[in-house]
């Protein structure tokens, strides 16, 4: 399973992200990540906060697995509770990247 994480915008305007291939992770960690992804959501989602809000940071998680691709897009106003743990894991590993 491959996971692509990106965040952009927000007051800071800093772009960060990380690409993870669970095949390259230690077995325990790969298992934990699998559980986080499973808990996050089986289907994709796209949720935007109120259009009148300003400085919300945008998040994108793309999960490629054997049977397809799941895309999760949300912002600071719409972080799904089920995704919080996976998001924290990815944010801990994210590094600065030039805006795409």
């Amino acid at each position: 399973m491959r996971i692509r994480y990106r965040e952009a915008g927000g007051f800071a305007g800093i772009s960060r992200g990380v690409d993870i291939d669970t095949a390259t992770l230690p077995e325990d960690e790969a298992h934990d990540v699998g559980a986080l992804v499973e808990a996050a959501t089986p289907r994709g989602l796209q949720r935007e906060g109120p259009p009148e809000a300003r400085d919300l940071r945008g998040y994108e998680i793309v999960i490629e697995h054997d049977d397809g691709r799941t895309v999760l897009r949300f912002d600071d106003a719409t972080i799904p509770a089920a995704v919080e743990s996976l998001l924290a894991y990815l944010q801990d590993r994210a590094r600065p990247r030039p805006p795409e």
Binding site: A12, S15, A53, R54, D76, A77, R97, E100
Partner: protein, 348 residues
Amino acid sequence: MSEDRHPLHCILPPYILERLAESPDARVRRRAIDTIAQSAALRATRSTLAAMGAMAAIPSPRARKHRLVYDAKHGNFVDLPGVLVREEGDRASKDPSVNEAYNHSGYTYDFYKRVFDRNSLDDRGMSLVSSVHLGRRLNNAFWTGEQMAYGDGDGSLFVRFTKSLDVVGHELTHGVITHTANLEYRDEPGALNEHLADVFGSLVKQWKKDQTAAQADWLIGPDIMGPDTEAEALRTFRDEPAFEDDPLFGTDPQPKHMRDKYTGSSDSGGVHINSGIPNHAFYLVARAIGGRAWEKAGRIWYDSMLALTPTCGFADMAERSLQEASSLFGARSRERRAVRDAWKAVGL
């Protein structure tokens, strides 16, 4: 600045557009009708929003400075505002985030009132509502459309976002913009929205410290930078990157000239990125005029903000600021010259 632009796309009020739409000149008619068509959907949203804002805004009891600070207790957006912990006139809290949100929003209110005779965000004395401790380790602060919300930072990249007066001034200025130009939050109008929030955020800080343009740091967010980074601030109005090859922040993505404008889709078309271009122009104006930046450069920008409309881009802002400089200081004034030179220097 090129002169072949047509200001029709944003400067003209709707009633003039409607008159132009009936012009005997077919080209004028066509252009006016196109403009109306483009903006009709937007204006509908805007009037709905304005009505919502009027309903949602908590009217200040005596239509003067009235602050409400809530503790979001690490809840999420849907839980806002949280628990009321400090209201106008209440004694200081033990919580520094609460006191910073209270004090910094108070300075911002005072700045708009004394410098521009503006009574709060809507100029009708609406209450300033802030929520602190939003989310867990949230590295952000934002304007929801009705109130400010501040994260605590993760303690590594950032500390609490209430700590910088320019951050609080920036967020509140988003509220002012919502009630004035209401610039769309994408591409150049969005970058202008961010630009104005940075300009007045910085000016609140300069005003509070009584600094001249030469003394000011022209930085955004220096007080919220976390202990694990060497980066001095998030943005600078000067012609240099705020940080470079920083392990946590990378390299400052803000351009300072039109030739380097970001054209990707990230960050709603780079609204926090391309604001660097007009930010630098404002800095050049303030430095060229000298003295206290809020008195002249700030006045020109404030009057321009009141005149802009939702789809305005950088060229419209440049044109508008030239017009405002002329009417405030004269068509041959050094102030107007400073504005013209500054926009030229950033490629407009």
